[in-house]
Structures are given as structure tokens and as C-alpha cells.
């Protein structure tokens, strides 16, 4: 429902919470999809919360606690790490249904459902894809995300699993998913290893930075750059041919399916335990579908 | 002494409050060109406050200031300086991180060109260093390295720099708040000589001091304050030393 008018409308309105990690376009897309759902369903009121960074466990926990206080019936949450599970246990104990979105908490059994991309699978997808694009024995570099962030780490782990030993990894610095750090790291890698054949990154912003370094080195199109998330800037670069590919997730789908599942669970309906929102390689061929 | 000309600096009915403390209560003071006026009084009598009002650090709550007979308003250190009043503060107010020349010229750097705003002017560092070195050598202050920062110098050297700074720039009035407190015999003498020289050049001088010997030696006139009021004025002399002390200390002393 339209929260300003119907928030006090009594028990017929179901109050559910959506918690996202932090303010980036990925979660904004998710939140927008949920807001759309909210507007279309007068019998549901969604309250929102967001952390400060991709690893802001404390912030997410505070929001969970506050939502328990506000008597929501279900929470759809993008967990920053397994560390938020204790707070989610409290929610479950208070009779609140919990739906995890975006990524799982391995081994946590309290959830009603998981609506997510499998980041490990996404990484594997990128590894398989890139293994076909680079000649055997060449050099590649990996731009890690923020150390200690499981979903970002999974994207690297999955990549390595399927990419195998097709090429040597000559560098894998952490970029904190920061554009400037991605650019600096790529500059240094291209200087130390001018023959690097491909760069794969665990998140979008450092890849956007890396593209600038590739361009400055005069190797645009010549280094295979693969990102993750297919953020708007990446899509532009793929269309322009500067970037080769990116692993797309579907945040809007995650959002709408996630909130729908949460509402269902709160109403006592049965829900699927895993809803895979899937990943897909975005390349120049299919980029039009994503823009 | 009889003065046909108006005093170089005169304040009448000076009143100053800090919150509920009445630090100055209708004080009159006048000092003439070529005269050394000693300002005496016990701790907390209001001496520093009074000269603070004359050097623009404090603003008077009541009272009027005249210079050479003309009414003037002293509202900031800048206006005091513009009126030719220079002050040696009790705490010296030196910049420990700067060299003697920078200390001399702080806030009145020699710089150009004139059409630029003051802050953007290019400093004539050579000229400033030259004058400073000359003044200090005239004062016989032994400063081995004139480019060292004054924070590295001894108490005596520091006091000498502060006094020399005021002496150099005062066109009309020099105010000194306990200029010899930390000085030894030799250094004190130099300062006393300097004060006499300034007087002979026609400057009006106000000196605060607790050292009765120095007062008797240099002052033409002494004005005594107690609890924010003026309680007397005498020509200091070895003979009336006791009288001055009893004025300072008051009836209950």
C-alpha cells in the first residue's frame, strides 16, 4: 500500500521489511522493484532499511532489531555476512519469517526461503566463458572486491574453479570495489605485465576504472575485460566494445520475487526453499536485452 | 614637570568589567612625550587590563582616550598600532616557530606591490632581516644565529627581542608590561637604557614593574593602582619608597 495513507489502517495491512546492504545502483534497482510491488499491493506495507557499506554487519543488525521492535511479519534481507544470523534468529524467535535475498548464509536454517544469485555459480560462469577467450599459457589478472566479503570472494573462487590453469594469474589485488583503486591497480598491472591478456573483476566499479587504464595503455579491445554485476556503466562499455563481458544478476527480479516470497511466508503459504534468480553472461551480442 | 603640550596619550574614566569583576573603575592616566610613567600595583590591581585597553586587546566599557589632545577610538590591536602605540606584553607574545625578523614584522610585513591586497603582497625579506639585525646589534643582544627560530633562544634573548620590536615600531607610545621580570642584572640594565633612549627620542613610555629599584631608577612619575582604581601618583625617589609601597599595599597591608 501507499505507506503514507494506509500505514495505520489496521490488521488487514501486512507489514514487512526490506533490508539492503548499502547505497549502490544494484540495491537501488532492487529497492525500486520492491517499491513498485508495494505501490501495487494495498494490503502490504513495506518498511525499508539500508546499511552503510557492503560489510556493515552492525548496521544491518541494528535495522533487523528495529524491525522486530516495529512488529513486522516478515523480513526480506540481503545479508552482509553470516554474522547477521544471530539477529535473524531473534527475528525468527519473534515469529517473523525471514527471506534471504542476493546471497545465502551457509548453514543457517532459520530462513523460509533464499531468493538469490549463486555468486559461486556466477564466478564459474565467468571462468568457463573466459577460458575459451584467452590462449593457453597467457597471463591474466584478477581484481578482487573487498576482502572479507563472502559473495565477492565467491566470485573469485568460482572463477578459479572453472578457469583452471588455462593461464597464469599474475596479480590479484584487492580493490574494495572502488573505481580509483581499480584504475591504479590496472595501471600497475599493465606496466608490470604489458602482455596481460585478460582482466576479470569481482565487482563493477573497479572494472570501470580498469577500462580507463586499458584505454590509456592503448590496448582497448585487445585485453579481454570481464566484470560482474553488469552495472549500467558496464553495459555502456560492452555496447561500445571496450568491455568484453559481465556477469549479470537480476536485482529487480530478486527484489520483487523476494518480497513476494516474504509476504507469502508471512501469510502462512508454502514457499520454495530456493528461488534462483540466475546469472547470465552479458556480451556485445546480447547486451541490448539488458540496457 | 610642567607640560604645555597635551599628553601623548591620555585616558579618562576608564572602566572595564569582566563578567561581574570590575577590573577598572574610572581610572585616569596621562603620559607625555619624553616621559616615563611607571604603573604600579599589586597582583590583580588592573594594570594589565588598563594597558590592554590602550593597546586594543580589550575594549573599554566606559571612558575616553585622547592622543596629543585628539579623541581616538582604540578598538583593536590594528588601530592601536595605527596610532603609533606599541606594547611589550607580559607573556611577550612571540612566535616561537619564526625567526627574529618574522617576529619583528608579524602583522606589518614589508611587502609589495601596494596595489595588491595586503595578504597577497610579496615580502621584502631582505629588508626586514636587515633592519632586525641592525636593531638587535644596536641593543647588544648577543644572538648567534639570526635565522634561528626564537623558540630556541634563552629567556633573556626572547625578552630583548620583544622589547626591541616595540621600540622599533612605536612612533608615539611604548607600553611595557613587566619587561624585566625574567631578566638578570645585565639584561635588565640594557632594557633600562633602552627605555631611557626611547624617552630621549621623545616617545611616551608606560612601564609596569614590581621592581621598585628599577622604578626609582627610570620613572619620571609613578601612578599606583589598587583594586581597579587609581590610588595615588608620586615622583619616585629613594626617599619616598616606603610611601609608594604603602600606597601599593593599601591601608591593610
Amino acid at each position: 500500500g501507499d505507506d503514507s495513507n494506509t500505514s495505520n489502517a489496521g490488521s488487514s495491512v501486512l507489514k514487512v521489511g526490506l533490508i539492503t546492504k548499502f547505497p549502490v545502483d544494484f540495491y537501488d534497482t532492487m529497492v525500486d522493484a520492491v517499491k513498485k510491488y508495494d505501490a501495487e499491493h494495498a494490503d502490504v506495507e513495506v518498511i525499508y532499511g539500508q546499511g552503510k557499506s557492503g560489510t556493515d554487519d552492525e548496521g544491518v543488525i541494528a535495522i533487523i532489531e528495529n524491525m522486530i521492535t516495529q512488529n513486522v511479519k516478515a523480513i526480506a534481507v540481503t545479508p552482509t555476512s553470516p554474522n547477521v544470523s544471530a539477529a535473524l534468529d531473534e527475528a525468527v524467535a519473534a515469529g517473523i519469517k525471514v527471506v534471504l535475498i542476493d546471497n545465502d548464509i551457509p548453514g543457517w536454517t532459520g530462513k523460509s526461503s533464499l531468493v538469490a544469485t549463486d555468486n559461486l555459480a556466477g564466478g564459474k560462469l565467468a571462468g568457463t566463458w573466459l577460458a575459451e577467450k584467452v590462449p593457453a599459457g597467457s597471463k591474466i589478472a584478477l581484481l578482487q572486491g573487498r576482502l572479507g566479503n563472502p559473495s565477492l570472494d565467491d566470485r573469485i573462487k568460482g572463477f578459479k574453479e572453472t578457469f583452471g590453469s588455462k593461464a597464469t594469474v599474475v596479480a590479484e589485488p584487492a580493490t574494495d570495489c572502488d573505481q580509483t583503486k581499480g584504475l591504479n591497480a590496472a595501471q600497475d598491472i599493465l606496466t608490470a605485465h604489458p602482455d596481460v591478456a585478460a582482466i576479470y573483476g569481482a565487482c563493477g566499479p573497479p572494472i570501470i576504472g580498469a577500462l580507463e587504464a586499458v584505454k590509456a595503455a592503448g590496448r582497448t579491445g585487445n585485453v579481454v575485460v570481464v566484470g560482474f554485476d553488469a552495472a549500467p556503466d558496464e553495459l555502456t562499455a560492452i555496447t561500445a566494445g571496450d568491455q568484453a563481458a559481465s556477469v549479470a544478476q537480476f536485482p529487480a527480479k530478486m527484489g520483487s520475487l523476494g518480497i513476494e516470497t516474504a509476504v507469502k511466508a508471512a501469510r502462512g503459504e508454502t514457499v520454495e526453499s530456493v528461488v534462483d534468480t540466475g546469472t547470465e553472461m552479458v556480451t556485445k551480442e546480447n547486451v541490448a536485452r539488458f540496457s | 614637570m610642567n607640560h604645555p603640550t597635551p599628553p601623548a596619550l591620555a585616558v579618562t574614566g576608564a572602566t572595564k568589567r569582566f563578567g561581574a569583576v570590575l577590573a577598572l573603575d574610572g581610572v585616569d592616566l596621562a603620559v607625555h612625550h619624553g616621559e616615563v610613567l611607571a604603573l604600579l600595583g599589586d597582583n590583580g590591581a588592573g594594570k594589565s587590563t588598563l594597558i590592554g585597553c590602550l593597546s586594543g586587546v580589550h575594549k573599554l566599557d566606559g571612558g575616553a582616550i585622547h592622543m596629543d589632545g585628539e579623541p581616538v577610538e582604540i578598538t583593536s590591536p590594528t588601530t592601536a598600532r595605527a596610532h603609533g602605540i606599541e606594547t611589550v606584553y607580559q607573556d611577550l607574545a612571540l612566535f616561537d616557530n619564526l625567526d627574529p625578523a618574522a617576529n619583528f614584522y608579524a602583522g606589518r610585513e614589508v611587502a609589495g606591490p601596494r596595489w595588491l591586497p595586503r595578504g597577497l603582497r610579496y615580502m621584502r625579506r631582505g629588508a626586514m632581516a636587515g633592519v632586525t639585525a641592525e636593531v638587535l646589534s644596536r641593543l647588544q643582544v648577543g644572538i648567534p644565529d639570526t635565522r634561528a627560530s626564537v623558540g630556541l633562544m634563552s629567556g633573556g634573548q626572547r625578552q630583548a627581542i620583544a622589547v626591541a620590536r616595540a621600540a622599533t615600531f612605536a612612533s608615539r607610545v611604548v607600553i611595557l608590561d613587566e619587561p624585566t621580570a625574567a631578566l638578570g642584572v645585565r639584561e635588565s640594565r640594557r632594557v633600562l637604557e633602552l627605555i631611557r633612549r626611547l624617552r630621549d627620542e621623545g616617545r611616551a613610555i608606560i612601564v609596569i614593574s614590581h621592581a621598585m629599584d628599577h622604578v626609582i631608577e627610570m620613572a619620571d612619575r609613578a601612578m599606583i593602582m589598587r583594586r581597579g582604581r587609581k590610588v595615588g601618583e608620586v615622583i619616585p625617589h629613594a626617599d619616598n619608597r616606603e610611601r609608594i609601597v604603602s600606597l601599593i599595599v593599601g591601608g591593610d597591608g
Binding site: 547505497p23 532499511g49 541494528a62 554474522n83 | 569582566f18
Partner: protein, 341 residues
Amino acid sequence: MADTDNVLAARRPPWRFDAPQLALTTIRIGPGLMLVAVVIAAASLSPVFLTPRNIGNVLSQSAVIAVLALAQLLVIITRGIDLSVGSTLALSAVVGALVFSSTPSGPLVVLAMLATGALVGAVNGTVFVWGRLPHPFIVTLATLSIARGLALWLSGGQPLQGMPQIVRDIGGGSLGWFPYSGFLVAGLALLGLLLTTRLVWGRWIYAVGGNPDGARRAAVPVNRVVISVYVLSGLAAGIGAVITSGRLNGGSPTFGELAELDTIAAVVIGGASFLGGRGTIANALVGALMIGVIRNGMNLLNVDAFLQPIVIGAVIVLAVELDVVRGRVEQRLRVMKAAQT
């Protein structure tokens, strides 16, 4: 106070109504007044705010900042600063989780966390003192970086799951709605109060901050005092690690990011000064609670995530500005009172 009063009773006039004294006493509560204002604002904007459950939330959400702020206060009283608290917390938590993976003993895990924190603090203190560094900013900035790196390296960058029951209780348990971590903070605050107002060591901390050189000449063991406050700050980071790990049931190398800014802000909101020698335990707690209440209130009111930093920044500067005004009023009242006597 009681003792002092006895001794001075003889020279005091008998009690009478004394308006400036009353005003002075009220206004001396200082930053506490600002906290009350913020609480009233939050309570009137959100009906949930004053429910016991939410108060419990505020307390457990503020507990870590509060613990760190208590020790940061001691550091700041000595004219220092400890930028490394957040990273040290992460390192302690990771060490605790690793110990837990090889032994189930709760006390051992807690001990490991506390020892890790104290060790980092000891490094900060000794490098600063014995290296004769001009300011602790540099060494604690370095350990900020190093402790985070060690935490990442030890954990392989992974959050490590699982904590013994005692840790989970300390961080996440509660008596009714009142969290155990709230009791822990209260206990530590009382210890801090004892230290800063009643024990010799606390007196020395103030003396060192007020006049380090004078303290040396007064035979105060200045170096040991300075090192001790960094050790206590590291220890507080270890305690913070116990609470955080308990709350989150695990240890992660990303814990405590930017905690240094929160704790320093808490201490400064509480009226302490970077020039040293000033600041009280009660006011540091008030500062920590103020930050906790503002964050909680904004969550309850569903303030846009983008706006939250703006509101926090504005409230912090407002609180300190109000304290400046309060201080000036206090000064005026003091003068008025002096004039009476």
C-alpha cells in the same frame, strides 16, 4: 566528595537558596542535557522509541562504541589519540574465532580476544613512548592498517562462524529486555569512574594530560601511565570484540570499520579536549549513547539511507556547538556566583 565536604564544612556558610548555584549545578550536567533533548525528540517522533524492547536495542547497539569510548577518553585525557581501535577489534574477533575452532573453551576464547587487544595496545603505547614519536596519530594509524591486514590474513578474508556460548551470551543475551552488554558497559563505566576519580592511577592520567613535564617532575611515572592508556584502549577493543562476536556469533576481519571516528566523536561530544586533561567517564558514555540514539531513531523513522549521514553530521556539530554555548553560560554563572561572595 563526602570527605571534602566534611573538611570544608566549617568554612562554608549555612545552606540557603542560591539561584546561581542551582543554575550552575543544572548546567554542569552538560552534554547530558543534549542527550535528554535528543531522546525527547526521538520519543516524540516515534511511538516505538521508548518501548523497553527498543531501549534494549539502543543499549546493545551502543555497547561497543561505549566500551571503546570509555578507553578512548583515557587516551584523549593524556593528549593522545587511538585510531586503531576498530581494526584491533576485528583482529581480536578473528583470533577469538580461530581459537574457538581449535578449543571449545569459552574462557580461553575470551582470554585470547582480550590478550590480542591488549597486545596491540601495548605495541601502540611502547612504540609511541620509546620511539619518541611526536604524536600517537602515526603509530595508531599504522596499527589501524596492520591489525586489519593481520585480521584478513589470519581469517583468509573470510568471516569465521561460531562462538562459545559465554561469548554469545555476553554479546547477544539479555535479562528481560535489558541486554547483558548493557550491564557490561555499566560495570566498565563504574570501574572507569573508580579509576578516574578515586584511584591514584586515574589522578596521574589527568596530571599527565594537564602538564606532562610537570608530571615527570612530580615523580609521576609518565611513560608507564601513557603506555597504560593505550593498553586499556586495546583491551577495550578486545572487550568490544567479545561483544561484537557474541552479537554476530562469529569473527570477521571487517568488524569495526570506522569505529575510531565514532568513538572519538563520542568522546568529543562528551566535552573532552584534544589538548588533554579534560573529560569525564559519564560524558563519554553520554556521547556514545547520543550517537546510538540518533542512529536508532533514524532507523525507526525510516530516514532515507542517503540522509542518515547528513543528519548525524548535523546533530554532532549542533551538540558540540550547544555545549560551547552552555560552557559560556556556565562561565557567566560562575562569575556571578563569585561576585556574591
